[in-house]
Symmetry: C14
Subunit: 92 residues, 14 copies
Amino acid sequence: MDSMTLIAVASIVTAGFTIAFGVIGPALGEGRSVAAALSSLAQQPDAAVTITRTLFVGLAMIESTAIYCFVVSMILIFANPFWNHVIEAAGK
Amino acid sequence: MDSMTLIAVASIVTAGFTIAFGVIGPALGEGRSVAAALSSLAQQPDAAVTITRTLFVGLAMIESTAIYCFVVSMILIFANPFWNHVIEAAGK
Amino acid sequence: MDSMTLIAVASIVTAGFTIAFGVIGPALGEGRSVAAALSSLAQQPDAAVTITRTLFVGLAMIESTAIYCFVVSMILIFANPFWNHVIEAAGK
Amino acid sequence: MDSMTLIAVASIVTAGFTIAFGVIGPALGEGRSVAAALSSLAQQPDAAVTITRTLFVGLAMIESTAIYCFVVSMILIFANPFWNHVIEAAGK
Amino acid sequence: MDSMTLIAVASIVTAGFTIAFGVIGPALGEGRSVAAALSSLAQQPDAAVTITRTLFVGLAMIESTAIYCFVVSMILIFANPFWNHVIEAAGK
Amino acid sequence: MDSMTLIAVASIVTAGFTIAFGVIGPALGEGRSVAAALSSLAQQPDAAVTITRTLFVGLAMIESTAIYCFVVSMILIFANPFWNHVIEAAGK
Amino acid sequence: MDSMTLIAVASIVTAGFTIAFGVIGPALGEGRSVAAALSSLAQQPDAAVTITRTLFVGLAMIESTAIYCFVVSMILIFANPFWNHVIEAAGK
Amino acid sequence: MDSMTLIAVASIVTAGFTIAFGVIGPALGEGRSVAAALSSLAQQPDAAVTITRTLFVGLAMIESTAIYCFVVSMILIFANPFWNHVIEAAGK
Amino acid sequence: MDSMTLIAVASIVTAGFTIAFGVIGPALGEGRSVAAALSSLAQQPDAAVTITRTLFVGLAMIESTAIYCFVVSMILIFANPFWNHVIEAAGK
Amino acid sequence: MDSMTLIAVASIVTAGFTIAFGVIGPALGEGRSVAAALSSLAQQPDAAVTITRTLFVGLAMIESTAIYCFVVSMILIFANPFWNHVIEAAGK
Amino acid sequence: MDSMTLIAVASIVTAGFTIAFGVIGPALGEGRSVAAALSSLAQQPDAAVTITRTLFVGLAMIESTAIYCFVVSMILIFANPFWNHVIEAAGK
Amino acid sequence: MDSMTLIAVASIVTAGFTIAFGVIGPALGEGRSVAAALSSLAQQPDAAVTITRTLFVGLAMIESTAIYCFVVSMILIFANPFWNHVIEAAGK
Amino acid sequence: MDSMTLIAVASIVTAGFTIAFGVIGPALGEGRSVAAALSSLAQQPDAAVTITRTLFVGLAMIESTAIYCFVVSMILIFANPFWNHVIEAAGK
Amino acid sequence: MDSMTLIAVASIVTAGFTIAFGVIGPALGEGRSVAAALSSLAQQPDAAVTITRTLFVGLAMIESTAIYCFVVSMILIFANPFWNHVIEAAGK
């Protein structure tokens, strides 16, 4: 059962670690984008439509990197192939 | 019982670690966004509606990355599949 | 009793660690927001109402990330499911 | 008695660590807010009342994150449920 | 079975680590690009077409580096040649 | 006697560590506040009364975070409940 | 089989590490370049052709450093001479 | 005698560490304050009295945080209650 | 065979490490150069020929430092004299 | 003799460490103060007397924090109460 | 053969490490120089000859520090006196 | 002889460490002061005498912190009381 | 032979480390100097002779610190007195 | 011979370390000074004599801190009193 425990511990620690460090970059990047959008709106209110549209495309792009981390984190908790393999091997 | 303890310790440490490091980025990003919103409001009070709306969409987007961390943290404490498996295995 | 001690130690260390690191981001983010609000007030005193309202919404949003950490910290000290499980198992 | 000592050591180290790292963010955030308030006062002395009021609300908000840390630190020293449990268990 | 466990643990930890650290750079880089695009739009709304097109080409280029990390992370979880080899060797 | 020594060592190291790291934030925050006050005084000497008053309130607030650390440090050296418990237990 | 496992673990960890750290520099560098290109386009829309061409040459140059890392990472996973040697030695 | 040595070593290392790290913040904060005072004096020589007075109050406040560290450091070397206790216990 | 494995592991880890850390500097340096080139082009489009030429010479110079790392990395994987020596010694 | 050696090693390492890290802050703070004094002198040569006097008071204040470290370092080398105690105990 | 392996491993790791860290400084320094050259060319195209000449002398000077690292790295791989000594000693 | 070796090793490592880290702060502080002096000379050549005199006093003050480190480093190599004690004890 | 191997490994690692870290400072410092020289040339082409001469003296001075590191690195590889001593002792 | 080897290894590692870290500060400080000198020359070519003289005095002062490190490094390699003592003790 040692092997199962090790894999479980590694999955738990990595899942948390992945999402915790993985959101630092996106959150800062999005904060910078939103801040720039607000300054731009204040400077050129007439271009609000273009600015808002570009902002949302950009945020979606940056958010996608956070979602990569979330996906890997979820896979490690709920669809971990290594865990499934040891469970199956143990169940045999 | 060693295996159960190890998984419990890993879950506790990771849950705290995940949310503690996971909020650094979002909090700084939101702080920057709010600061930019306030400067923009002072510069162009007439565009208050557009600025506030864009700010709230942006904050929601950034907050979402903090919520990913909170979700992973809560899953590790209250709905941990690895813990459930060892409890069940022990209860058998 | 070793397993109980390990879980207790992990909970104590993680609870302190979570709140200690978890408030760095929110505190800096709020400091930045308040500083921006004060500069904006000095620049455009007429927009005081809008600025103050936006500031309070923003502070609440940022404070929420600190509260996530506080909640996890309190759960680990006073409502720790892993601890409850080992206490119960020991009491049996 | 080993288990008691370990919990005591963990509580002592975590209590100090929590407050030591927990005040870095708030202290810097408050320093920034106060600095911005003073610059704003120098720039717009007429808005002194609004600026001071907003400053105090903001400082209270930021101080609250330092107080979370102080509360956790005090709980770990004077109302530690894990310590109480082992003392009680030992006293039995 | 020790060798299998070690490879599984290494794959899990590395997969999470790779994507968690790998998105920090791209997310910050994209945040900077989007911020510059928004400032440019506010400054020169007439050049919106050129700016938006250049932005999207640039974002795709930067995103590609995040995708390298995601690809390596997925290979390590789902198409790991070292894991396949030990599974096959064990199955023989 | 081993348990007593461990608690003593932990208390000594933590007491020093707490105050050493705990004053970094407040000292920098106060330095920033005082610097801003002096610049403000030079810019608007007429507002000296308001500026000085706000500065002192702010410094008191920031100093309070340093005092939290000093209090925890002193408690750990002179009123440590864990130490008192082991001394008492040993004296019995 | 110990030697094979060690080489496999080293290859897995290094492959992930190489690409994870290797993209930080290029992603930030490309972000800076794209940001400068967009500012330049806003400042001098007439020079769009020269700016875009120089940008693409520069991005290709910077991307090349990320590709070095990707190549090394792929070699370590799929064409690792050390792994091939031990496999071959084991197969003999 | 082992317990005495451990406490002595911990006290020596902590005393040095406390003062070494504890003066970084105050020294930088005071440097910043003095620099701001000198710039202010150059900008507004007429306000020299107010500026100098505020500077000295501020320096005293910042110096106080360095003195907390010095006090803890001296207590650990010359009035260490844990050391006194083990000496006394050994002398009995 | 232990000696061979150790050298293989060291070569694998170092090869990845060398290129991963080795491209951070060049990528950032090239990003800065390209950014400066683009700003210069926007400011002085007439000097495009000189600017582009100087940029390419500079990029080649900076790229050369990344290539040193790539060369060392490739030597360690494909033309490692230490590995060749132990293989030869083992083959004897 | 083991206990004596340990205390000697701890004293040597701490003495060097204390002064090495303890002068970083004061040296940077003094550098900043002197730099500000020189800029102020260039800007307002008539206020040279006040500026120089304030500079010297400030430098003395900052130097005092470096002297705390030097004092602790000298105490640890030449007037170490823990060393004296073990020497005396060994001489008995 | 242990001694030989240790020296080989140390040489491999150090060779990679030396060039990987050794190029960070030069690459950043060259990037800064090239960026300054390009800005200068845009500002003063008439001085192109002097600027380019000074740039190339400066780049050669900075590149020399990267070449020191490359030389040490190559010596460690291909002309390592310590390796030669142990090979020779082993061959005797 | 073990005790002597340990003290010698500690003295050697600490002596180098002390001066290596101890000069970072003073060198940067002096660099800043000299840079400010040169800018001031360029701005106000008439005040050259006052500027140069203040610069030299300031440099002497900053250099003094580097000299503290050099003194401690020399004491540890050539007048180490702990070394003298063990030599004397060994010579008896 | 163990002692010889240890000294060889220490010399190899230190030689690489010394030059790798030793060139970071000089390379950045030279980059800064060259950049400043180029900006100055663009600003005041008439002073080209004085600027270039001062630059070369300065670069030589900064390069000297890199050469100290190179000299120590070469001494450790080719004229290491400790290695010579053990070789000689072994040859006796 | 173990004691001799340990002292030799410590001397080698410390000698390299001392000069490698010791030149970072001086190199950056000198780079800053030279950069400021060149800007000042461009701004005020008439003050070239005073600027150059002050620069050389300042560079000599900063270089002195690098020379402290070089001296300690050379003492540790060629005039190490601890090494001489063990050699002499071994030769007896």
